[in-house]
């Protein structure tokens, strides 16, 4: 008994010793943090600031970010993060912005996590006086079940003051949780920082620090002219510091992405239970080894590359046989299989989900691919995986973990096809616009099938014709009213937004169930009279009414009018099948706007019917960053206007224009044919990326289209 007790006591004592030895930032109290950050009481010499910065609302004089990552005990890991700002407030807006702060801290997760945070504020007045804010007194705290909300108003803040404040938080995790994560996800991330260097305000001095211990393998990479090119040693062998000066403000996004155009720092820490070598440690000071860790990628692909699931392939073959489709080419069969799977995993359940107001079924893209791969193998079709990341996150070489990777299945037909699944409207061989034209890593099996071969690949960009919007509008003028009979159709990358807005489950689910011979759940024609049938019929009617309202709103915006009467609208195509690749609708509407009476004549704003175009103003022609356009596109309009009796049409010469360059084109022609004005326009943007120096060429196309949109014709009384 005594021995047992002694053993027990020994364990208790021994497990506490590492905690005592590991006295680091997470052990700190608030006063300890303040000693670290508040070590310079001087005001600021505004003369040292760049002249143009003195006109700014505020300037960050000092910005420090410190990450500390340590083993806190044999079982635990702690991550401390300290942010310290020293900001001089140069106008009232800055005083208002910095005078109120809101925080919330959560205790979340099913695993025990200790989490602490605190904040501190002080003001340095121009006369050198320092006022420390009593956060205990000033902070208002409200507690919820899982959240603690805090807000504070900073007293006595004025223009010219320097606000010196910090935010500290600390999180603790168990080591075995990390191991679990690594096992299931293929890599482990603990510190994961995409540090965007610029801030809302310009920064005079900036410092980035990382402190670890011998258990961490650190990778640091500066991207897009990030100023943190070199990390020097700080206090202790695992302390890395990089500093820089004069960082310009972030600026607003204008058709670009921060991680593509602004400087940022990628920081990754691998937890290594063994000690890391001196060499590895020094590697962390300068540059990253983690471009893409091939081993991580290959381990990741081992789980997915060959994983296949057979559950639906047999049913698909029966479907082909039943519908006399067994002689389809392999390409067509693969395409049909895509829609077959889409139906079985998601679409066939939509009526049920809608009726019960449940979340729509989902299948992960990877699971979808697993079913697909089975079919490809059975049909002896070769495939690869492409690993990429959306443009908004940067480049594939910039990823920090496999969680950022978007895997695409590439089917190696003569003209490759690409598979990506993300819901009920997914289409075969259409990829998300966020990954068109991006670099990726192609993964294919080695000849002996035992390994993978990785190579670079660029995902093709679609062409404008594939993403076409077409509209035909027949316009009649009478009694100060314009009546329009229109038809529009849209496909490719332009399609999803129309489907999400206009296509309802009632439009296609029942037909799909019939086509694929699956249970026609919720089909009113199969239901007996009763509450359920009434409800479904009511839901169908509701969505028809909603569609009309939505379409009216869409037309109102598109035509730039406030009032419009939508007399009729009908969906013609939905873009839901292999053959049916467009959404299209026909409509009839009237409006009194777009016409101005001038004496006995009428001005008709015919240009407003040619789309909703964007104007690039003179000061927007010069850019600082490249341009990322959502996708290449084409818009064509054919508008006919019947010229009423006793009127002649003037001004059609103003409707002819043309411009073309390597980035696109805009062409417009107007003729009179059989008493009608026929106006044809075609707008094309060929690319989804434009270098900043070539932006004026694109702007010229946009402005030409915009100019045409503002053109008017005169109906002159004879």
């Amino acid at each position: 008994m005594k021995t047992l007790f002694k053993k027990f006591l020994t364990i208790i004592i021994l497990s506490s010793i590492p905690s005592l030895l590991f006295s680091q930032m997470w052990d700190y109290e608030q006063k300890d943090i303040e000693k670290i950050v508040w070590n310079d009481d001087s005001y600021v010499d505004l003369e040292i600031l760049k002249p143009e910065w003195k006109e700014k609302s505020a300037v960050i004089l000092d910005y420090e970010l410190i990450h500390e990552l340590k083993e806190t005990s044999p079982t635990g890991i702690g991550h401390s993060k300290l942010k310290h700002y020293k900001v001089v407030l140069l106008d009232q807006v800055a005083v208002d912005n910095f005078s109120e702060f809101y925080f919330s801290k959560e205790r979340t997760g099913i695993y025990k996590m200790y989490y602490k945070n605190f904040v501190g504020f002080r003001i340095i007045k121009p006369n050198g006086k320092i006022e420390i804010i009593d956060t205990e007194k000033e902070m208002i705290v409200e507690k919820d079940n899982y959240e603690v909300k805090q807000k504070i108003a900073i007293p006595n803040l004025q223009i010219g003051d320097v606000l010196d404040y910090y935010l500290f938080n600390y999180a603790y995790d168990y080591q075995n949780q990390i191991k679990q994560w690594e096992k299931s996800h293929g890599d482990y991330l603990f510190i994961f920082d995409r540090f965007l260097v610029p801030d809302k305000y310009p920064i005079s001095k900036i410092k980035y620090e990382i402190i670890t211990d011998k258990h961490w393998k650190l990778s640091i990479k500066p991207i897009n002219d990030c100023p943190f090119r070199e990390f020097k040693e700080g206090e202790g062998e695992y302390h890395f510091i990089s500093e820089s000066e004069n960082v310009e403000a972030l600026g607003d996004l204008e058709w670009d992405f921060y991680y593509k155009t602004r400087p940022w720092l990628k920081v990754y820490a691998d937890w290594e239970p063994r000690h890391i070598s001196k060499q590895e440690k020094e590697g962390a000071k300068t540059f990253s080894r983690r471009e893409i860790d091939e081993k991580v990628l290959k381990d990741y692909m081992k789980k997915y590359y060959d994983a296949d699931v057979s559950s639906l392939f047999g049913s698909f073959q029966k479907y082909l046989k039943k519908n006399n489709l067994t002689n389809l080419s392999k390409e067509r069969k693969v395409e049909e299989y895509f829609y077959f799977l889409r139906h079985h995993f998601v679409n066939m359940h939509l009526m049920y989900d809608k009726y019960n107001n449940a979340k729509e079924r989902e299948i992960s893209h990877f699971s979808f691919c697993q079913h697909f791969i089975f079919a490809l193998k059975k049909m002896d079709i070769k495939y690869d995986y492409l690993l990429t990341t959306p443009r908004i996150l940067g480049d594939i070489s910039d990823i920090l973990s496999m969680g950022e990777v978007v895997p695409i299945l590439k089917i190696n037909f003569k003209t490759p096809s690409f598979i990506y699944f993300d819901g009920k409207f997914s289409r075969y061989d259409i990829l998300p616009k966020a990954i068109e034209g991006v670099n990726c890593i192609r993964v294919k099996k080695s000849p002996d099938k035992r390994d993978f071969i990785l190579s670079d690949y660029k995902i093709p960009t679609s062409n404008p014709e594939k993403n076409a919007f077409k509209a035909n509008i027949d316009v009649k003028f009478s009694d100060n009213i314009l009546t329009m009979n229109g038809k529009l159709s849209v496909k490719g990358q332009a399609l999803p937004s129309y489907q999400n807005y206009f296509v309802s489950v009632f439009d296609f689910v029942i037909e799909e169930n019939i086509k694929y011979n699956t249970k026609r759940w919720g089909d009113p024609s199969e239901l007996k009279n009763g509450k359920m049938k009434d409800k479904i019929l009511q839901m169908d009617q509701d969505q028809k009414d909603e569609f009309k309202e939505d379409f009216k709103e869409y037309l109102t915006v598109r035509l730039g009018v406030k009032e419009l009467e939508l007399n009729e609208v009908k969906k013609i195509e939905l873009g839901m099948t292999a053959k049916d690749e467009s959404f299209s609708a026909e409509y009839n509407c009237t409006t009194e706007e777009l016409i101005n009476k001038v004496g006995n004549n009428y001005i008709i704003k015919i240009g407003e019917l040619t789309g909703d175009h964007f104007q690039v103003k003179e000061d927007e022609l010069k850019r600082e960053y490249d341009v990322y356009i959502p996708y290449p596109k084409m818009q064509s309009y054919e508008i006919t206007l019947a010229i009423p009796e006793n009127f002649e049409l003037k001004g059609i010469e103003n409707l002819t224009t043309s411009i073309e360059n390597e980035y696109g084109s805009y062409k417009s022609t107007a003729t009179i044919q059989d008493g009608r004005l026929v106006l044809k326009t075609n707008y094309k943007i060929n690319v989804n990326f434009v270098e900043l120096e070539n932006w004026p060429k694109v702007a010229e196309i946009l402005n030409t289209a915009f100019e045409l949109q503002k053109k008017e014709v005169l109906l002159k009384k004879l």
């Binding site: 009232q92 005083v95 807000k151 004025q158 509450k531 503002k710």
Partner: protein, 631 residues
């Protein structure tokens, strides 16, 4: 017996089935009647009790409310809120009475308005979600007022269309009280009264079918002006167990306000050093007053961390000064003390803004919702509102004009009305000259702002960062056809003078030639283009302040052209607005004049149709063209 049970069971199901069918039918019917509303309240009952509460040893009020509603559309989210002050009331419970779904929630929030959060005013939020048209939900709540002073007005109206609303009051006989029935005259309200001798209770019932509703309209000035409501005025409670005094008259109200003010511990010594830096001995009295008033406006932020007796007790002046923030009471108190220290007779003043329809003949906390400072100087009273931005001395914001001000006067008080200003004191004038060049017009504009229009534009500019002001102004005046260049504006911090903006511009596609004719667009800033009033709502349309817009545009006629068509002039004059547009040709220039004057800042119900008619003609003029022909 079994057959009877089965029959009963069947009938019950049938009854429920019929009720469900009826709700859908009702939803369709009401949906057609109220196309802009997503929900319809079938019943809203309020039971209000005023009674002595033994455990609390005070007289309390309890408000129990039940609301039942149906959805007029599918997938409808709707939010109700119940507000309370942490020191004076609380919500005992709020819960769903009917079966709700997982998307329905009840939770707490801080009350906030205009991005200012209020520390002691809270909201109980009842978030509803309806899956289908005709779905039914009901919820109940109970609110407790810890002190009868804080009983709110009870409205016979809702934010959504309602079938019927009933308010029942039960008031102990020991309470001396008055019930004011306000705005009842235009509505058909059923009233009942009885005295329950057994329980010694006064019982009132008010019932209204299809009560009026206001749904999220910013353009209506104060519900208390229009909607029928009840104000309960407790005066005293006398019984063997308990005696309590409330407000018998305005004197009592003032006495209570005064007691709160007296309890504030101001320390003027903390303000004196600052005043030495602000005021110079050579300053005239008016200069001193301006310095103090303008300094407060520019340097004290409005942050409503309200703390203290439901927001009625002012913060000490030195605290507001030291923190550089405060609410209206704290700011008024600071203004008063700074002026007093300089020897001026400045006093705290309670006032209800123009969202409150009451005056001080009613002894209620609901008469006022704001505090300012009244300065007595040379037979004149200046009303100083430190929460305003860029308000010059001698001017008053629209929201307090013509309102009664309750000014402290030791143990007594003074009631004065804040003077009204005319629309032309808020004038925005614009002078523009344009020349034709090809199919564009090149122009220069000078805009001058006075009064409220000046305060608004300055407040807007003041909210933009220094280095972005010019661009923000450019964007403000830019439009699809207009490109602004060379924009200049006068100093924002100058309180007393007119605020001016001038710029050059290019107006593209505004001179279109058709053969030998030139069609000119002349209106670059179509005021009130989107101001048509929805006449289905029964309330006056609030334009927020008295407005006057005057613009004069001149267009040089090219030497080889003559004017062949000018749009027709229009003129509308009534008690609520003057709208005048005319065109002239003077010295080879086309002169286009526009005047819009709104003397009350309101379009009354009776003038709405005329307003819409005038706007329609105005828009036709805006869209019209001037025609020149080559000679």
């Amino acid at each position: 017996m079994l057959k009877a049970k089965l029959l009963f069971f069947s009938l019950t199901i049938l009854a429920n089935f019929c009720v469900a069918q009826k709700d859908t039918q009702k939803a369709l019917e009401m949906g057609k009647k109220y196309p802009k509303s997503d929900v319809y309240i079938t019943q809203n009952n309020i039971d209000f009790y005023l009674e002595y509460n033994k455990p609390d040893k005070t007289v309390i009020a309890i408000q129990k409310e039940k609301t039942s509603l149906i959805s007029l559309n599918s997938n409808v989210s709707h939010i109700f809120t119940k507000n309370y002050h942490i020191n004076s009331s609380y919500i005992e419970y709020a819960r769903f009475e009917s079966e709700s779904n997982y998307n329905c929630k009840i939770y707490n929030l801080d009350y906030s308005s205009n991005n200012i959060f209020h520390h002691d005013e809270k909201l109980k939020v009842i978030e509803l979600f309806f899956k289908q048209r005709g779905d039914y939900l009901s919820f109940v709540s109970k609110k407790r007022f810890l002190d009868l002073k804080y009983i709110e007005p009870i409205y016979l109206a809702n934010l959504r269309p309602t079938e019927e609303k009933t308010i029942k009051l039960s008031i102990e006989n020991e309470l001396e009280f008055e019930i004011l029935e306000l705005n009842f005259e235009n509505f058909d309200i059923e009233k009942k009264y009885e005295f329950d001798e057994k329980k010694n209770l006064h019982k009132y019932e008010f019932k209204i079918k299809n009560p009026p509703y206001i749904a999220d309209i910013d353009d209506v000035r104060g519900t208390s002006f229009h909607l029928p409501h009840i104000l309960i005025l407790p005066k005293s409670y006398k019984s063997k167990k308990h005696n309590q005094e409330y407000f018998k008259d305005t004197k009592d109200l003032y006495k209570w306000y005064s007691s709160l003010v007296d309890s504030v511990k101001d320390d003027d010594d903390q303000l004196k050093p600052f005043l030495k830096t602000l005021i110079s001995d050579n300053d005239t009295d008016i200069e001193k007053i301006k310095k103090i008033y303008y300094w407060v406006q520019q340097n004290i932020r409005y942050i409503a961390f309200e703390d203290g007796i439901a927001g009625f007790k002012p913060e000490a002046a030195h605290n507001v000064f030291n923190k550089k923030y405060g609410d209206c009471k704290g700011v008024a108190n600071l203004t008063k003390h700074l002026l007093n220290l300089e020897g001026f007779d400045a006093r705290l003043t309670w006032i209800g803004t123009n969202s409150r329809a009451y005056d001080y003949s009613i002894p209620s906390l609901y008469v006022d919702n704001h505090m300012i400072c009244a300065l007595f100087y040379k037979d004149k009273i200046y009303y100083l509102d430190g929460t305003e931005r860029f308000m010059p001395l001698g001017h008053n914001a629209e929201r307090i004009q013509n309102k009664e001000a309750l000014i402290e006067d030791g143990e007594n008080f003074i009631i004065k009305k804040v003077p009204t200003q005319k629309a032309n004191e808020n004038a925005r004038t614009r002078t523009t000259n344009m020349v034709i060049e090809g199919n564009t017009m090149l122009g220069k504009s000078i805009m001058n702002y006075a009064g409220e229009s000046r305060s608004n534009i300055k407040a807007y500019l003041n909210s933009i960062e220094n280095d972005k002001k010019a661009k923000a102004l450019r964007d403000y005046y830019d439009s699809d056809n207009i490109e602004i260049k060379n924009i200049n504006y006068s100093k924002i911090q100058n309180f007393d003078s007119l605020f001016s903006i001038n710029f050059d511009f290019v107006s593209t596609n505004s001179a279109i030639s058709f053969d030998d004719e030139l069609y000119l667009k002349f209106e670059n800033y179509p005021d009130f283009k989107h101001s048509e009033i929805d006449t289905s709502f029964l309330f006056d349309y609030d334009l927020h302040y008295k407005k006057e817009i005057r613009s004069r545009t001149s267009i040089d006629i090219p030497s080889n052209y003559t004017v062949t068509f000018l749009p027709e002039s229009i003129k509308y004059v009534n008690s609520d607005f003057i709208l005048e547009i005319n065109f002239e040709i003077i010295n080879n220039q086309i002169i286009y004049n526009k005047t819009i004057n709104i003397p009350n800042g309101l379009i009354h119900q009776t003038n709405k149709e005329e307003w819409n008619k005038a706007l329609k003609e105005l828009i036709e003029v805006y869209n019209s063209n001037i025609i020149l022909k080559k000679s």
